[in-house]
């Protein structure tokens, strides 16, 4: 290929957002840029991140490859705007009619509040394509309005598009049930988009298989691109051999706490372990945000029982991604607390493995991450979520941390090296390059 292939990347959640899906989008943009693509990212406007969801990590912006062009198509904040000083005359005086008109617009185009951003992204994409044609459009969801934008761009410009499912659209991954009632527009749109997409990417095999069964005509265009850990953010080689003998152990959960995680089992398991006399004085530390949105943090904190003091349990608050290594360095045993579904892998498991530290699982059996953890030499899996079993697994993991066998830690880290973002994205980038080359 004589010139750099051009990629238009529709990633609504992109730095400075700190939403969980941002790391995959960031890594994808950087990887394609490193591999010689001209990458243009269309993301949500700053106002969405700073004024409405208020979940921002500005350090992440610095980690974007400077060759990546990032644009912010405008959008209508109707669904998020709460300040009546910003309401128009129309909405302020005729709120019901304004709502009906807005809803009609959603019904006409695409059933998501983000559709105005998607429309704007289509306009921006077409303008840029006229100036210098794109070779490929890659859309990541959620929101799935970005899939619609990619579909619409293909319809108007004939540029092939690929959809990247960070989460499933119509499948409730935790409940293994349909997310929408029969006849909902989402079903029709997902089918329509699969018919024309050049490819669909999933984060694990279970999700790929579910979609392949649902849309068999597109099954041969589906592939798995695992999440991974980011060596540029976390220096895995910097972690020491183990805890000092005179220091109590730190069991730590690092990540975002949500209502689907079995936190009760963990808290009770930790209490039972302490009561049994194993690893005296050990603490249970939580690093990270509570919930994905600041508006729900308070409610969720109470729901999780973290609004009151619990002996030995410390909520240490969010850690900027750039300093995540310090949280791992301060931890001796990592607690993999997860909603537990065969469709949910979570990106954190890759970081956990990269540390080479003992990992104790606290989730239902059958979680997608088990496939990855099975060959990790320092994985401790309780028999069930019964707090007694959790306590036993935690005690065993604590013993392994105390033992701090350098050979086992080295094996663990070597295993984790096969799960970097680079490793996950490289085959996909090659596939995308082939696709573009054939199309030229």
């Amino acid at each position: 290929m004589s010139e750099r292939p051009r990629l238009l990347y529709l990633a609504y959640y992109f730095p400075p957002s700190r939403a969980s899906g941002v790391f995959r989008a960031r890594a994808t943009a950087n990887h394609f840029a490193e591999q010689g693509w001209d990458v243009t990212v269309l993301r949500a406007p700053d106002r969405f991140f700073y004024d409405f969801v208020r979940s921002v990590d500005e350090a992440l912006v610095e980690s974007i490859d400077p060759r990546v062009e990032v644009l912010q198509p405008e959008m209508d904040f109707f669904a998020w705007e709460n300040d009546l000083r910003n309401y128009s005359f129309w909405r302020g005086n005729f709120p019901v009619l304004a709502q009906k008109r807005y809803q009609r617009k959603l019904d006409r185009t695409f059933p998501e509040h983000y559709v105005t951003w998607a429309e704007s992204a289509v306009r921006t994409g077409r303008r840029l394509h006229r100036e210098q044609p794109f070779d490929l459009v890659l859309a990541t969801g959620n929101p799935f309005a970005s899939f619609w934008a990619a579909w619409e761009l293909e319809r108007r410009t004939k540029v092939p598009f690929v959809i990247d499912y960070r989460d499933s659209w119509t499948l409730d991954q935790f409940e293994n049930a349909d997310k929408f009632p029969p006849g909902h527009a989402a079903w029709e749109w997902e089918a329509k988009i699969h018919r024309t997409a050049a490819g669909a990417v999933h984060v694990n095999e279970a999700l790929r298989a579910w979609h392949a069964a649902k849309y068999p005509y597109a099954a041969d265009r589906m592939q798995v691109v695992l999440n991974g850990w980011d060596p540029d953010i976390m220096d895995a080689e910097s972690f020491g051999p183990g805890p000092a003998e005179d220091r109590p152990l730190s069991f730590a959960f690092i990540g975002t706490l949500t209502h689907v995680q079995p936190i009760d089992s963990l808290l009770e398991g930790h209490r039972l372990m302490a009561a049994s006399g194993a690893h005296p004085g050990s603490g249970l530390d939580f690093y990270g945000h509570i919930g994905f949105f600041s508006s729900t943090e308070m409610k969720l904190r109470a729901q999780l029982g973290l609004d009151k003091e619990i002996p030995g349990v410390t909520y240490r608050g969010p850690v900027p991604k750039s300093e995540i290594g310090t949280a791992y360095a301060a931890s001796d045993v990592l607690v993999f607390l997860n909603g537990g579904s065969k469709y949910v892998t979570t990106g954190k498991v890759f970081e956990y493995m990269a540390t080479g530290k003992p990992i104790v699982s606290v989730h239902e059996k059958g979680c997608a991450a088990e496939e990855l953890l099975r060959d990790y030499p320092l994985w401790f899996e309780p028999e069930s979520l019964d707090p007694q079993h959790v306590a036993a697994a935690m005690a065993d993991a604590g013993d392994a941390a105390r033992k701090a066998d350098p050979d086992t830690a080295a094996k663990a880290r070597a295993y984790a090296r096969s799960f970097t973002r680079e490793a996950a994205l490289a085959p996909f980038e090659r596939w995308a390059r082939d696709l573009v080359t054939k199309g030229r």
Partner: protein
């Protein structure tokens, strides 16, 4: 009690014109009042609030019900269609003999007809203009809301949006919002936990302060 209250500038005003908002508003009130944040609730509970749950008794509640029920449209409708004929039939039903029996039948038929007329005709038309009517009433009675020492005004339902929008224009420095955001009060300790709640119409014939 006064000593546990947050500074007066932290007072929150909540505006609810539809009874559908009561559940959400009570959840919000409980969070604020439990933390000693004073709240004033402005309610338009004159029409369409039959059998409505009561607001948290710890909140100051100011009602526009009497004013709303005196608006010409509402007053004329209730007099001509509901109270007038209803009163007449009730009197007839108290008469002895056949006239009394006919009166009781008429009173029952009238009560049934009134429910249907209210549901299918009066409410269908009135609900479209009710927000504007209440806006007019409320904007003339801002003084009891003491907006100068209010931190924000929370508009709890769509019917109250026209009032909130006009208020935001009159007082650009005042935050008027649809969001029941409690993040600012999160650090405050719980000082006044919720008492047992429940609405007992017998005990509170007119439970709220009428404006």
């Amino acid at each position: 009690m006064e000593a546990t209250l947050a500074p007066q500038a932290d007072r929150v005003v909540v505006v609810a014109f539809r009874k559908a908002a009561i559940g959400r508003v009570n959840g919000y009130l409980d969070y604020l009042l439990s933390r000693g944040v004073p709240v004033t609730v402005l309610v338009g509970d004159g029409q369409g609030w039959k059998q409505a749950e009561r607001f948290d008794p710890r909140a100051e509640v100011l009602s526009l019900a009497r004013r709303e029920n005196r608006r010409p449209l509402v007053w004329t409708y209730t007099l001509l269609v509901e109270r007038g004929p209803g009163g007449l039939f009730r009197r007839i039903s108290r008469l002895p003999g056949k006239a009394g029996g006919a009166g009781r039948k008429l009173a029952r038929a009238h009560a049934k007809a009134v429910r249907l007329i209210r549901k299918w005709f009066f409410w269908r038309g009135y609900k479209n203009v009710r927000g504007y009517s209440l806006r007019r009433i409320a904007l003339r009675r801002l003084e009891p809301l003491r907006l100068d020492d209010a931190r924000r005004v929370v508009i709890a339902d769509t019917a109250a949006v026209p009032f909130g929008w006009s208020l935001a224009r009159r007082r650009p420095g005042l935050e008027v919002t649809r969001a029941m955001d409690v993040s600012a009060y999160e650090p405050l300790p719980v000082t006044d936990p919720a008492p047992e709640q429940g609405f007992h119409p017998g005990e509170h014939e007119r439970p709220y302060t009428q404006l």
